[in-house]
Symmetry: C2
Subunit: 250 residues, 2 copies
Amino acid sequence: MNYRMKIQYDGTRYKGWQRQGGVSGSDATIQGKMEAVLSRYVGKEIQIDGAGRTDAGVHAMEQIANVHVPENVSGTPEELKEYINEYLPEDIRVTAVERAGERFHSRLNAIGKRYEYHIMKATSENVFQRKYAWKVLGILNTEQMRIAADFLVGKHDFRSFCSKASKKKSTVRTIRSITFKETEQDLVICFEGDGFLYNMVRILVGTLVEVGLGKRQPEEMLEILERKERKYAGETAPAQGLFLAKVYYD
Amino acid sequence: MNYRMKIQYDGTRYKGWQRQGGVSGSDATIQGKMEAVLSRYVGKEIQIDGAGRTDAGVHAMEQIANVHVPENVSGTPEELKEYINEYLPEDIRVTAVERAGERFHSRLNAIGKRYEYHIMKATSENVFQRKYAWKVLGILNTEQMRIAADFLVGKHDFRSFCSKASKKKSTVRTIRSITFKETEQDLVICFEGDGFLYNMVRILVGTLVEVGLGKRQPEEMLEILERKERKYAGETAPAQGLFLAKVYYD
């Protein structure tokens, strides 16, 4: 039986989603923690696949994963959810479990994702957001950031916005939208696209912030895309402001 | 020179606002941490007074404090703020500093306070709220809670809603309003009043939640008030859901 799960986590303590050792090593990764609990439930080593391989320190409001549980292991989706949450640390929660078709694969079937990046403005203080936002020192011109973002929307080769890009694999992706939610206290930038390269959202944010601070012009985005080299883009924004917000399927 | 400050803190790690040892002991209290930094700034032991003596684990969105700094210590309010924030742990932030009249006292001059209590509904999961809300297991009838709350608004002897009430000191207080902010995920109860007794908001919340769960009737609030004994009220709600939100002055 293939189960599809929604998972929420505070990534602060973790080395990201992806397990680094063998199955059930229960290392400091979300996947490792999930597999340790699931293996205990099933009685043998079991693997879980997640849609987004979030980096160390990155959070998820809604990660999607799937896991194949042997038929002889009984239990309703609700029972599975309760069992997992009982043994998971409190900074990882399974918020929903449902049966999925046998061929459903959380990552391979995903047709898009939404990431949100939270920036706390220099003029505001919020101790409750300190682990969940990047505090940018300096006044941001968000109008300039919006203009720059418009250059990035669409189908492009985002090689310049990728850490450790492979020479063989395609770095072409489509960003469907970049939207801004601004309050007096903070700025949230939402990215929707078919997929994102390693560190891509964080480099996009770092570059947009440099535009907001007046260090770059919005039009430079075109040049950065054309150069196809990481060094032309801006700094990688800190992991703690990034949230995997939604995974889309057909 | 008397300075008035706004302070925000995540109370999770602390034994409350009030210092437990001597001045500058820098114990695990907010006051202790503040005084350690201020004493370093001034070059001698210095005391800070806070408007609300929040309990262990209780948070503050806006605590007000005042501190008398010797005249020979120079610096603008902004410099003082920056200095303090540099040396404070990151879960305590001074969000504003301004000069106040010599006779201003943060606690004695306060004419009212607002506390907010955050409840996470049983049907919702939010890892990011896990330290900042009480997760109540069970479905809450908030309509019944509102009816009960209306019995509590006004000038009453709240002795039943106070831990360790003194026999000599008055336990009469005026609650100006109790309001509810409800979303699909959570319920926030806001209390405004001229002052609150030890554990009063948490006992009020614990009692209102018992009403919401159907364990008590709204009309029982009158009887609890009349009994004037702690044992007639409900359980004390956990500290982690409580926030000092605002202190009022003339």
